[in-house]
Structures are given as structure tokens and as C-alpha cells.
């Protein structure tokens, strides 16, 4: 199955990928490809955009029109692409630092516009590419190379941030929950409007090692044992969800999509 997906959607000549052994990003990338395959998206109708960081190296391996942009700006590049070609599916692959720190402003404004772009955030809770500095999703108290005494920075809840800014579909998956995460990405791509799927990855090399979370297997087991489906989580008092991962489709609503609204402007401005 994976072999078929590789032949159909990946640039085999550039494999194996350069992620560390035990990294969760490969699983999430597979989920993205599986979702694209399940939906039967045409490669020529799909443009995949990334920023900078571990997550964003994903696009190089994908045999689509792919663009690896600058740090934090993937959603802004994607906005230009979508405006210029509203008929294309535009998918952004980004990371926690890329989307929520340096690119946080673009995330919230794209959400506000409700432009039809799907953002998949590979959240490994750390800056992996630069060697393990704390990110906006590193939990307070965790250790990182720039938080040698433990981080005092509270962490962002990315789907909640996106929802508050106006995103019309938000979800969270994990590297462990492959089937569920694939479905969430499918739903996000099908949704017309700005959609965000946070995919909680694992980084045994930097986050795991420094925080004594064990290796890849232990970190995956931790995800399995500490992830709560959203339907179940709604029945549990918030205090008991502290430190857990709530996964599933979190939010959905309908609002006018940005490029469709702009089409209406063009139609009214074009001379008779």
C-alpha cells in the first residue's frame, strides 16, 4: 500500500527522506498522501506549499507542483497562489514554529479571510531543524536547548487559535492515529474555506531525549495512551484533560469563502 503511494505521489529519486530515525513526520506525510489518494485529487489540480523547518522539507519529496518558501510565509505564498488560481487545491504543510511563531500573523489573517486553503501543521513541539529550541507549542515546564531551566512560555493551542481567528474547519490528529488523522485531513481538504489540521508528531531526537520521553516507540505509546477522542473529551472535566491530546474534528462552520467573494467583485467591476 505504502509502496503504491510512493510510486504514485513521491519523487522516488530523492528518497530516502532526511528526517531522523523515529521522527513522526513521515507518518503524517503518508497521511496527507493517503488523504489525497482517497479523495482522488488530480496532481495537476493541487499545489503544495511549505515554509521552513523539518515539516517543510516534506514538499521536496512530493511529485506535485511544490514550493518550499521562506520561514513563516507559507500561508502568505499560498494566499497569492489561491488568489491567482482559485480553481486549484492549495495545501500548506508547515510546522509549529513556522505556523504559530514566525508565521502566526499569516495564520490568523488567512483564517479571518476564510480563504480556501488547507493547512496541515506538523507539530513536533520543538524546533528540530536548528537543534531543539522551544517552540510556541513546547509545553510550559519542558526543557529545550534555549530553555535549559525549563520553559516558562505557555503553549499555543493551534486549532483554538485558528478557530478564534475565523477558521471554518479545525481538527487535531496524531502520528499514532493514522486512520483517524487521514480522515481529518480529507475532511479539511473537502471543506470550502480555511481549514487547519494540527498533527501532533513526535521528535525523539530533540524533544524526547531532552525531556526523558524515551525513544520513538515510547513516545508513540505515550500518544496512544494519552490521546482522547474529542467526543469523549467533551464529557470529561477540563482539569482531567490537562496534558492530554484531544483529537478529532474540533470545529466546523460555514462562512463565505474569500476567492468566491472576490469573483463577485470581478463580475461587478468588469465592463458590461
Amino acid at each position: 500500500m505504502a509502496g503504491r503511494l510512493i510510486d504514485k505521489y513521491m519523487r522516488g529519486m530523492y528518497l530516502p527522506h532526511k528526517w531522523c530515525a523515529g521522527c513522526g513526520n513521515g507518518i503524517i506525510l503518508r497521511d496527507v498522501i493517503q488523504a489525497v489518494d482517497n479523495l482522488g485529487l488530480e496532481k495537476r489540480d493541487t499545489i503544495i506549499v511549505s515554509g521552513i523547518g523539518c515539516s517543510s522539507r516534506a514538499v521536496g519529496y512530493l511529485d506535485f507542483d511544490t514550493i518550499h518558501t521562506t520561514h513563516g510565509r507559507a500561508i502568505a505564498f499560498a494566499t497569492g497562489i489561491k488568489m491567482a488560481r482559485p480553481d486549484m487545491k492549495v495545501i500548506v504543510l508547515t510546522g509549529d514554529g513556522d505556523a504559530a511563531a514566525i508565521g502566526g500573523n499569516h495564520l490568523i489573517h488567512a483564517a479571518r479571510r476564510n480563504i480556501d486553503i488547507t493547512v496541515v501543521v506538523f507539530n513536533n513541539n520543538i524546533y528540530g531543524m536548528t537543534g531543539g529550541q522551544f517552540s510556541p507549542t513546547t509545553p510550559a515546564g519542558a526543557y529545550a536547548s534555549t530553555a535549559p531551566y525549563g520553559s516558562i512560555d505557555p503553549d499555543f493551542d493551534i486549532p483554538a487559535l485558528a478557530k478564534a481567528a475565523g477558521a471554518t474547519y479545525t481538527a487535531r490528529g496524531t502520528a499514532y492515529h493514522v486512520l483517524q488523522t487521514t480522515k481529518l485531513i480529507e475532511a479539511a481538504i473537502l471543506h470550502e474555506g480555511f481549514s487547519v489540521v494540527e498533527c501532533v508528531s513526535i521528535c525523539p531526537t530533540y524533544y524526547g531525549r531532552r525531556n526523558r520521553k524515551g525513544g520513538a516507540v515510547e513516545m508513540m505509546k505515550w500518544q496512544r495512551d494519552n490521546a482522547v477522542p474529542v467526543e469523549q473529551a467533551r464529557k470529561i472535566p477540563p482539569a482531567e484533560l490537562e496534558g492530554k491530546i484531544v483529537y478529532g474534528g474540533l470545529w466546523r462552520c460555514e462562512r463565505p469563502e474569500y476567492t468566491r467573494q472576490y469573483e463577485a467583485i470581478i463580475n461587478s467591476a468588469l465592463p458590461e
Binding site: 507542483d65 518550499h68 521562506t70 510565509r73 505564498f77 494566499t79 497569492g80 489561491k82 491567482a84 499569516h106
Partner: protein, 380 residues
């Protein structure tokens, strides 16, 4: 012959009309004085021709969206001023390395920092060339009239599309806000160049594989079934990242050569009274209007003074200016900064003539009489 259209336009508005004539169909930007009229007119005019305008959350996003639109084959532009131009620098470098055509208008105002937001300046001359990090190619064009703002905007798009380099249209508050009557040439009088692509789809999958004898890649826009990667990392012919010193060297040298080996086509300048001049006044953009008035007055009064105005300011029209420096005693560089083009003039003069400078950094313009005095002094 059909009657030409005459219009009374502001420099900033002429930029938009020129861009539309060149085929610009996407604008993304963020409001900033004294460039804002460009965004305003784009918001009004683009949908009238089926194009699209978007006001982004900041200038970082403005240039990013412009590059995004360009990768799907749409001619795209952004406009800003000093502080916003600083914010755009990283992605200007991206466009230079990934070779994505785009036009960036910088309507200069007095800096540094927030500076004097409504006052004229030419303090971004060096930044326009060297603002982004790393060695990179860029073309910078600085119009001196509203008519020229129109024509040179079209040329900026042509150069950007053909050479696949970012082109910076270096305006200033003077020309940006100046109203002048201009003639809009008929469509068949204006040369519009579009980017080139490869006919063979197999070849198109190697977007950075250069056709022999050419310097700029022929890249098929995204969305046409040719799948390749674009990155700001050093990359191979497919656009995939590599750290090979051999490929890095080849790529970095080739993108610089796009400018070096095409300087004749890129360069544009204007000369006045230079045949028997002993003193040469050099000026560009808005300041050149005062400089030309001073030269004309001094010439009438019998001084052997000429005028040299680079329109393409980067690369500097080196060959023509080198020759001038060999036959005049003095060059006077008149510009609204602390001495930026002066450095380029000194480099080319290489000690063969004296290089004087008259500049201003107080947010006011140079008056013709101030430049006239400098001419008198130089003429001794």
C-alpha cells in the same frame, strides 16, 4: 493614426496604468505613505480587467503573495516605502534565487526608521541593490517623470519576466505624488514581453536546466501538469535542494551573469550637453528634475556643464559613465541622501576626475539654485 490618449496622472497612478498595460493581473500589498495610491488604484482597476487585488496583513505577506501568484504564471507587483521595503527584503532574495519574476515598487521616503513619512528622499539607493542577504541579482530602475514612471514600469515587467529577476522600481515621494500630463501609447506601440517556457514537457520537468545560449531558466507555471519543486535553498535542475559546491557555484554565478551579460539591454540613461562638458552633474529620480534645471541654467549662462541621468540605476550605466569620467574635470552627484550614488560614481571614476557630492537628508528637496552654486564652484 489614432489619437493618443492623454491623461493627467500622479506618478503612483501612472505606475499602476503602466503595470496594467504590461499585463500585471495581481497586486498584494500593505498601505504605507507615500506609496498608498498604488494599492488604492490597483484595488479599483484590477477587477475591471479580471485581475485580483489583495490587501495583506503586512509587507512580508505582500511580497510573499506576489511571488505565489507569479509561480502560477500571473504577472504580479507590490508597492511599498522604506519600512515596508525593509520587511520585504528576505523574499526579494527568495525571488532572486528561485528566479520568480516580480516587480517591487519602492516609493522612497525619508528614513531611517519611521523617519519623515511624507517627505522625499533617495536613501534606499543602496538598499535597493544590497538589501537582501547574500550575493544576488537585481535590477533597479528610477523614473524622473510621470511619463517615465509609466514607460519604465512596463520595462520593469519585461525585464523581470525575461530575465526572471526581481525588478525594483525605485520611485521617490517627488515623482510618486507629482501630477503631470502624460501620453498613453497605443497597445501596438508598446513592447510587452512574456516569460518563456519549454515546449518539450520532459524538458519542462527540469525547470532550472538552462537552454544552451540562454541565462534565464524557462519555467512552466505551476498548475499545468509539469511537476517540479521551487525552493529558496540552492537547488538542482529539478529544483530539489542540494549542498553540492559544484552546483552551488554554477547556480550563484549564473544568476549574477543574467545581469552582467545583459547590461546593455538593461541599462538606460540620458545625457544632456555632454559633448564638450568639463563638469558633469549626475542625478536620478526626483532629484534629477532640479539637477537638470540647474544644468540648463548654467549652460545658458555659458558654463561648460553637462548632465548624466541613469534611468537604470542598478546596474549603473558603467560604460557610458566611465568614458565621461575620462574627459571631465569634475563630476557632481546630486541626490537626496548622505552620499550613496556618489560611492558608485567614485568607483567608476577611479580617481580620474574629482567626484563632488551635494545631498540632503532633511526631508526637503534639492533646489536648482543649490546645484547651480556647486556647478559654479566646480567650474572654478
Amino acid at each position: 493614426m489614432t489619437e493618443r490618449r492623454r491623461m493627467l496622472l500622479q506618478g503612483n497612478e501612472a505606475v499602476v496604468e503602466g503595470a496594467l498595460a504590461a499585463g500585471m493581473r495581481f497586486f498584494a500589498g500593505y498601505p504605507i505613505t507615500p506609496s498608498t495610491e498604488i494599492a488604492e488604484r490597483c484595488a479599483l482597476r484590477l477587477p475591471q480587467v479580471g485581475g485580483r487585488f489583495i490587501q495583506m496583513e503586512d509587507e512580508l505577506a505582500g511580497i510573499a503573495a506576489v511571488i505565489g501568484a507569479s509561480v502560477v504564471g500571473v504577472k504580479a507587483m507590490t508597492a511599498t516605502s522604506g519600512p515596508g521595503f525593509s520587511l520585504m527584503q528576505e523574499n526579494i532574495g527568495y525571488a532572486a534565487l528561485a528566479e520568480i519574476p516580480c516587480v517591487i515598487v519602492d516609493v522612497q521616503r525619508a528614513g531611517p526608521s519611521t523617519g519623515l513619512p511624507t517627505s522625499p528622499s533617495q536613501g534606499d539607493y543602496m538598499q535597493a541593490r544590497w538589501g537582501t542577504h547574500g550575493d544576488h541579482p537585481v535590477i533597479v530602475i528610477s523614473p524622473s517623470s510621470v511619463q517615465e514612471a509609466y514607460i519604465e514600469t512596463i520595462r520593469s515587467f519585461n525585464l523581470s519576466e525575461r530575465l526572471r529577476v526581481p525588478v525594483i522600481l525605485l520611485m521617490d515621494e517627488i515623482i510618486g505624488h507629482l501630477y503631470e500630463g502624460i501620453e498613453l501609447p497605443d497597445a501596438d506601440e508598446v513592447e510587452i514581453l512574456d516569460r518563456l517556457t519549454k515546449d518539450d514537457p520532459r524538458q519542462a520537468e527540469l525547470p532550472y536546466d538552462i537552454v544552451p545560449g540562454e541565462l534565464a531558466p524557462r519555467m512552466t507555471p505551476f498548475g499545468q501538469g509539469v511537476f517540479y519543486n521551487i525552493t529558496g535553498l540552492i537547488h538542482d535542475d529539478r529544483g530539489f535542494p542540494t549542498s553540492s559546491p559544484e552546483i552551488a557555484d554554477r547556480q550563484c554565478r549564473r544568476i549574477m551573469k543574467k545581469i552582467d551579460l545583459n547590461s546593455g539591454q538593461i541599462g538606460r540613461y540620458e545625457e544632456l550637453y555632454m559633448e564638450d562638458a568639463g563638469v558633469c552633474v549626475v542625478s536620478f529620480g526626483g532629484a534629477a528634475r532640479s539637477a537638470q534645471a540647474a544644468v540648463e541654467a548654467a549652460h545658458r549662462d555659458g558654463y561648460r556643464v553637462g548632465f548624466f541621468r541613469p534611468v537604470t540605476v542598478w546596474p549603473f550605466p558603467e560604460e557610458a559613465f566611465y568614458e565621461i569620467c575620462g574627459r571631465v574635470s569634475d563630476v557632481i552627484v546630486a541626490e537626496l541622501n548622505y552620499g550613496q550614488m556618489k560611492l558608485e560614481a567614485e568607483r567608476i571614476a577611479a580617481g580620474r576626475c574629482r567626484v563632488r557630492h551635494i545631498g540632503k537628508v532633511d526631508g526637503t528637496i534639492l533646489g536648482p539654485e543649490e546645484i547651480y552654486k556647486e556647478i559654479q564652484e566646480a567650474a572654478g
